[in-house]
C-alpha cells in the first residue's frame, strides 16, 4: 500500500509546526511505521536541528530535484527508531528552488518505500505553503489557544478546503488548562466555535519541549511529560486507533508546589 503524505501547517509562525512534525513523525516510527520527516521550509530549515541530525546533512532535497544526488543519498537515517528518516532541505536557497509538481514527484517516490511522509510546512501562505500542500493526503493544522494564531489557522483551513485537500485536522498546541480556567486563554470550545474542524490532538504547554528542541531529542523518545504523551496519542490516532481526547486537567496547587508529578 502506498504511503500517506501528511502536511503540518499553520499560517502563523512559531506555533509549533516543526516540533509537531518531529514528535509525531518520531512517535509513528516508534510504533513500528516506516517514516520520513520532510523539511518543507527551504532557506530556513529547522527540522534537522530539532531532530538533532544537523551535522549529518550531506545532500538535501534540492540537490535531488536538481539531479546532484539520488533520493536515497539525501535521506538521513535516525537510529533512535527502527525506520525513521529525515529528508532535509537546502539552507542556501529560497522557496522557488522547488515547485509543487516536483514536491508531488518526490513524495510519490517516497510513498513507495514509506508508510508516512510528514512534511513540515513553512509559515505563511505563499509558494512554500503551496509546495507543502500539493502532495498532501491529510493536513494537520497547528494552532495555539490565542486569537491571532486561530485567525491564521482559519485562513489556512479555508485555502486547504478550497483546493479540496484534506481531511483537515486540528492540533491545539501549548494549551495551559489553568489559564483557560481563569479565562486568560481561549478554550478548546472557543477555538472550535471559529474553526469547527476535527481535533486530532491537544498538546499541553510543557517545559520539556524547549530543552528537547535545543538538545535535538524529540520528547516522544523518552519523555514522560504531558506533551510527549499527547504526541504519542496523536500518532496512535493517525494510524487509526481510537484514543479518546481527554482535555488536560489543571495541575493542582500542591503539584505546582512540589514540582511535576512525573
Amino acid at each position: 500500500m502506498a504511503g500517506e503524505v501528511i502536511t503540518v501547517t499553520s499560517g502563523k509562525g512559531g506555533v509549533g509546526k516543526t516540533t509537531t512534525t518531529a514528535n509525531v513523525g518520531s512517535a509513528l516510527a516508534l510504533l513500528g511505521k516506516k517514516v520520513v520527516v520532510f523539511d518543507g521550509d527551504i532557506g530556513l530549515r529547522n527540522l534537522d536541528i530539532v531532530m538533532g541530525l544537523e551535522n549529518r546533512i550531506v545532500y538535501d532535497v534540492v540537490d535531488y530535484v536538481e539531479g546532484r544526488c539520488r533520493l536515497r543519498q539525501a535521506l538521513i537515517r535516525d537510529k533512535r527508531a527502527p525506520e525513521l528518516y529525515l529528508l532535509p532541505t537546502a539552507q542556501t536557497r529560497d522557496k522557488r528552488a522547488i515547485n509543487p509538481d516536483q514536491m508531488i514527484q518526490v513524495c510519490d517516490e517516497l510513498r513507495r518505500e514509506f508508510d508516512y511522509i510528514i512534511i513540515d510546512s513553512p509559515a505563511g501562505i505563499e509558494q512554500g505553503f503551496h509546495n507543502a500542500l500539493a502532495p498532501a493526503d491529510r493536513v494537520l493544522v497547528v494552532t495555539n489557544p490565542e486569537v491571532s494564531s486561530v485567525r491564521d489557522a482559519d485562513r489556512v483551513i479555508g485555502l486547504v478546503e478550497s483546493q479540496q485537500k484534506g481531511p483537515v485536522q486540528l492540533i491545539i498546541n501549548r494549551l495551559i488548562a489553568a489559564r483557560v480556567k481563569r479565562q486568560e486563554m481561549l478554550s478548546t470550545q472557543d477555538i472550535m466555535d471559529v474553526l469547527s474542524t476535527e481535533i486530532i490532538g491537544i498538546v499541553p504547554e510543557d517545559e520539556a519541549i524547549l530543552s528537547s528542541s535545543n538538545r535535538g531529542t524529540p520528547v516522544v523518545f523518552n519523555g514522560k511529560g504531558p506533551a510527549a504523551m499527547a504526541y504519542r496519542d496523536i500518532a496512535r490516532r493517525l494510524i487509526g486507533e481510537d484514543v479518546p481526547l481527554s482535555p488536560p486537567q489543571p495541575t493542582s496547587w500542591w503539584q505546582r508546589l512540589f514540582g511535576k508529578t512525573e
Binding site: R151, D154, R155, G158, L159, S162, D190, D193, S196
Partner: protein, 260 residues
C-alpha cells in the same frame, strides 16, 4: 448598455450587442459605474462578455488598465469574434468562464459542495480567480443572489451585485459585499457591506450580530466595543439598516412593520 451580473465565479460585465459606439465610449460608461461604487469592485476580479464587438489589442489593454486603476483584475473576455478571441488569448486572458476540463466531468458527488469563493487575491489571468469551481450550467444566466451553505472563513470574500445569503457563520476576517441585502443565518463576525452599488435601503440581518465592520451604501458603522465573544448569551437576531444617515441595529422581535 452595460449589465453586471454575478456568478459564483465572480462578476461578469456584459456589453450588449446593440451599441455601435466606439470601445472607448463604452469603457467610459463602465468607468462611471466603477467610480460610482468603488467599494463594490475594489479587490475583485471580473470577466467581460463583449458579444460580437471586435476589439483590438489596444482596446483590451486599455480595458485592463482601466480596471487596474480601480484595483480590479480582468481575467476573462468572452467574445463572438474569432480575431478578438485570438488577441484575448495572446494577452494571457481566458476566453471562457470555465477552465478547460481535462475530461468530461463525471456526475458530481452529491455530498461535495462546490466552492463558490471569489479568492481574495485573484491569480493572474487564464484561470478563474484561484480555487473556483467550473461554472455550472444553471448559472448561465447569472443569479439574483448568492447562496452559500457553509462557514465563510478568514480571507474569503463573497461579492455579488445581488443579495448574499450565508447559511453558516461568517468568521472574523471574512468579507461579504452585496449590491443588495446580506442575510447571515449564523453568527456574523467578519465584515459586511450591503447596498454596495449605492442602495441605502439595503439591510444586513444576522442571527448573531457581532461584525468587525459594517457598511450600507456609503454609511459606515465602526465596530461596537467588543464584548469579547459573549457566546452562549447569543444575542437575538438583529437587522442593521440606515436611518437618518446612521446605521441602527433593530432586534428582530421588535421589527414588525420595519419596512412600513
Amino acid at each position: 448598455m452595460i449589465a453586471i451580473k454575478g456568478f459564483k465565479q465572480g462578476l461578469l460585465v456584459i456589453f450588449s450587442d446593440s451599441s455601435n459606439q466606439p470601445w472607448l465610449t463604452r469603457l467610459r460608461e463602465l468607468e462611471a459605474k466603477l467610480s460610482a461604487n468603488p467599494g463594490f469592485f475594489k479587490g475583485g476580479s471580473v470577466a467581460f462578455d463583449v458579444k460580437a464587438t471586435p476589439l483590438s489589442e489596444d482596446d483590451l489593454r486599455r480595458s485592463i488598465e482601466l480596471l487596474q486603476s480601480y484595483e480590479v483584475t480582468l481575467w476573462a473576455v468572452l467574445t463572438g469574434d474569432e480575431a478578438t478571441r485570438a488577441r484575448v488569448r495572446a494577452l494571457g486572458l481566458a476566453d471562457r468562464l470555465a477552465p478547460p476540463a481535462p475530461a468530461p466531468a463525471p456526475i458530481p458527488h452529491p455530498t461535495r459542495e462546490a466552492t463558490p469563493f471569489i479568492a481574495a487575491t485573484p491569480s493572474p489571468a487564464t484561470e478563474p480567480p484561484a480555487h473556483i469551481s467550473p461554472i455550472e450550467a444553471s448559472d448561465a444566466e447569472g443569479t439574483d443572489g448568492l447562496l452559500v451553505r457553509h462557514r465563510v472563513r478568514s480571507g474569503q470574500v463573497l461579492r455579488h451585485p445581488g443579495h448574499v445569503v450565508v447559511i453558516g457563520d461568517v468568521n472574523p476576517g471574512a468579507q461579504l459585499i452585496a449590491g443588495g441585502d446580506i442575510i447571515v443565518w449564523g453568527r456574523l463576525e467578519g465584515s459586511a457591506h450591503a447596498g454596495a452599488l449605492g442602495d441605502d435601503h439595503a439591510v444586513i440581518c444576522a442571527l448573531e450580530m457581532s461584525p468587525s465592520f459594517i457598511r450600507i451604501a456609503d454609511v459606515v458603522r465602526m465596530p461596537r466595543p467588543s464584548k469579547r465573544r459573549s457566546r452562549g448569551k447569543a444575542g437575538s437576531a438583529q437587522m442593521a439598516r440606515v436611518e437618518d444617515q446612521e446605521i441602527v441595529f433593530v432586534a428582530w422581535n421588535s421589527a414588525d412593520g420595519i419596512f412600513e
